[in-house]
């Protein structure tokens, strides 16, 4: 093992040990990434489901004003709506005017008010007065509208039948034949790849950038502020070795965080895949390796860039002030890249910094290896990563780093 490699390894090891000895760091880089997607994809739907079930079980109070219909009344009652008959407001010109009922809704005396006015033999006007900021009122309105729809269908069918027409043929003359899903040539793995390509690159980019910030600041501006950098610079190692050691440490910590997040995501998807029609993505070995290369080169660039910015700062506060907004440089391209149409995308997009890697990840998750695109993003990204490393090296060679602030 060469001396240089041993030095870099020692620096990286020290940085990692020191970093992970802070329990807050362990929560930030292990627990949160690991639980983020399972919480989002599993716990949140479960919570929503439970809340919806709770709402479904509620009995709600509805006042019915105006024309009465037995059939509608029966179906509304079956939806756990307690119907009471009320008086239709005198001189009402507009059914949607809450008028004096507004206070009764606000006080919770009733959850919703159905107003129905017969305008012909088989025609009616209606409105549902509700308080949209109340869950109960919204739910009551929703149940009333659903039953009104079915009642309307029933009225239409009856009218058509009375006129000697077949309701199905009259209302739905052009129909799909067969299984709609079977008509899609994409496999479930490809469909899953498409779904993942819409957010995996964005998550990777944003998480890599954000999770590298804390260690990058701690190992650079933090060292300056704590007064440990001067002693480090007195050691018989070059500034490039120092940068490489710190880069390796930040990259390792970031990779662990991102890896755990992806692990959590895959677990959540696997859970969802067993419960829904969403499949596990299938990509070839070549696409997988290129994907890994894209992630690595992106990490090289981002970590070097963040180390450079943090080293440029004189204090942790200053580094945070500089790097906080710098994250927008990652977030905006990450968002924009999601809406670029991959079919027929112009090749120059693959040379735009950040966008190129994100597009590459999207393409590779769809198992598309387009040689021209790969060549452009690989070469341009290598150049950008090289530039970021060069810039970081410049910052690490600055003489004023010696003057610690402690």
């Amino acid at each position: 093992m060469s001396n240089s490699f041993r030095t870099i390894r020692s620096i990286a090891k020290k940085e990692i040990v020191e970093f992970v000895r802070d329990w807050r760091t362990l929560i930030a880089i292990i627990l949160i990434p690991l639980l983020l997607f399972p919480i989002l994809f599993i716990a949140l739907p479960l919570l929503l489901e439970s809340e919806a079930a709770e709402l479904d079980a509620l009995r709600l109070d509805v006042e019915w004003q105006g024309a009465f219909d037995d059939e509608l009344n029966t179906s509304l009652s079956e939806q756990k709506l307690d119907i009471t008959m009320g008086t239709f407001p005198v001189d009402m010109e507009n059914l949607s005017d809450p008028s004096s009922d507004i206070e009764r809704l606000r006080s919770g005396e009733v959850d919703a008010i159905l107003r129905l006015k017969q305008t012909g033999d088989d025609t009616w006007n209606y409105s549902v007065i509700q308080l949209s900021t109340s869950e109960h009122s919204r739910e009551a309105r929703s149940r009333i509208l659903t039953e009104l729809y079915y009642w309307e269908q029933s009225v239409i069918n009856r009218t058509l039948t009375d006129a000697g027409l077949d309701p199905e043929e009259t209302l739905d003359p052009v129909r799909w034949e067969g299984d709609e899903d079977a008509a899609n040539a994409a496999t479930s793995g490809e469909k899953a790849g498409l779904a993942l390509s819409m957010f995996i690159p964005m998550v990777l980019a944003i998480w890599t950038a954000t999770s590298a910030i804390q260690p990058a600041i701690d190992m650079t501006a933090g060292e300056r502020e704590r007064g440990t950098l001067e002693a480090l610079l007195c050691l018989p190692c070059t500034r490039i070795e120092l940068l490489a050691g710190k880069w390796l440490a930040v990259a390792t910590i970031t990779s662990v965080g991102v890896g755990l997040q992806i692990g959590g995501l895959i677990f959540a998807i696997t859970y969802l895949a067993s419960a829904t029609s969403l499949g596990v993505p299938t990509i070839s070995l070549g696409a997988g390796l290129l994907l890994l290369f894209a992630v690595v080169i992106f990490a090289v660039m981002v970590v070097a860039f963040e180390l450079a910015i943090a080293m440029k700062a004189h204090s942790v506060k200053e580094a945070g002030t500089l790097l906080g907004p710098a994250i927008l440089i990652i977030i905006f391209p990450a968002l924009f890249t999601q809406i670029i149409n991959l079919d027929g995308v112009e090749s120059w997009w693959y040379a735009v910094p950040l966008v190129n890697i994100l597009l590459a990840m999207r393409e590779l998750l769809l198992d598309r290896i387009i040689v021209d695109h790969v060549a452009i993003w690989a070469i341009s990204s290598a150049l950008y990563a090289g530039f970021a490393a060069w810039y970081a090296a410049r910052q690490f060679k600055r003489e004023d780093l010696v003057a610690s602030l402690s």
């Binding site: 020692s10 020290k14 020191e18 704590r226 007064g227 440990t228 001067e230 002693a231 007195c234 003489e399």
Partner: protein
């Protein structure tokens, strides 16, 4: 000279427009404890940093046994003023990290550390995290760290600053022991009594220049004074400048923003008394 351990020839150091050191010529021979004495902003720390090879001189050269000192940092042991210990590592882990970068085997480093730790009475604290260490404990640990790889020269930047009497005495005693064993120590301080007690040779640095260089007796004889303090005052009678680090350039935007927020500081009138 051929047998000089460290040679400083025509060294000047500028920070932008500020000349921190000018035309320093020194030779450091082995087996001596050399005191760098001077007030705040005199240039002691800058000179030590140049000797430690972490800064390059603007002019001149610094060589260790004929080779550029920047390539010979493994021969030096440095204790900066801030000590530079990692608080989440134990004392031994701090020492071992530095020894490994020096390419020293862990066992060798441990044996040397254990030897000096007994002299400094901190052998029981080597396994403790340095976060709770007192200033004295931190200083002693930094000393152990600087000694673990067996340096030819030890550079100490104000090693007793902020220490209690007992700790300062222990540190001085260790420096004396190192001298007795033939070691070379360069010791920056602004305490003349301490310099007289510990150092064989005193270099007085003032406003970035070497004002005097010799044994305490030489300096007193040179100035015709009876105490080292009087000799120092006589040699540094011109007004001391502000610290070089304080003269950092302020960017145009930063200056505009500062003036916008705080207004101008009124100039101090310097005139004749009424």
């Amino acid at each position: 000279m051929a047998d000089a351990l460290l040679s400083i020839e025509g060294v000047a150091k500028h920070f932008g427009d500020v000349e921190a050191l000018s035309l320093i010529d020194l030779e450091i021979n082995s087996g001596q404890v050399i005191g760098l004495v001077g007030g705040n902003g005199a240039g002691k720390t800058t000179l030590l940093r140049l000797m430690a090879g972490v800064m390059e001189p603007t002019n001149g050269s610094i060589t260790f046994q004929g080779l550029p000192v920047t390539n010979m940092r493994s021969k030096l042991g440095v204790v900066p003023e801030a000590t530079g210990l990692y608080h989440r590592l134990t004392a031994w882990e701090n020492i071992r990290f530095h020894s490994r970068i020096h390419g020293i085997d862990d066992e060798v480093a441990w044996n040397r550390t254990a030897h000096f730790a007994k002299l400094l009475s901190i052998e029981d604290s080597l396994g403790r995290h340095t976060k709770g260490f007192s200033r004295g404990m931190r200083q002693k640990t930094a000393l152990l760290r600087a000694l673990a790889h067996g340096p030819d020269i030890l550079l100490l930047d104000e090693p007793t600053a902020g220490l209690d009497v007992t700790s300062a005495r222990t540190v001085r005693s260790l420096v004396g022991k190192l001298r007795d064993e033939g070691g070379t120590v360069i010791y920056s301080t602004h305490h003349l009594a301490e310099a007289r007690q510990v150092c064989d040779r005193i270099i007085i640095v003032h406003n970035g220049t070497v004002r005097a260089d010799g044994s305490p007796e030489d300096l007193m004889g040179q100035t015709g004074k009876e105490s080292l303090e009087d000799a120092y005052v006589a040699l540094t009678s011109d007004k001391a400048r502000s610290r070089s680090e304080d003269n950092q350039k302020e960017g145009r935007i930063a200056r505009w923003w500062r003036l916008f927020l705080t207004g101008r500081t009124p100039a101090v009138e310097v005139g004749e008394d009424e």
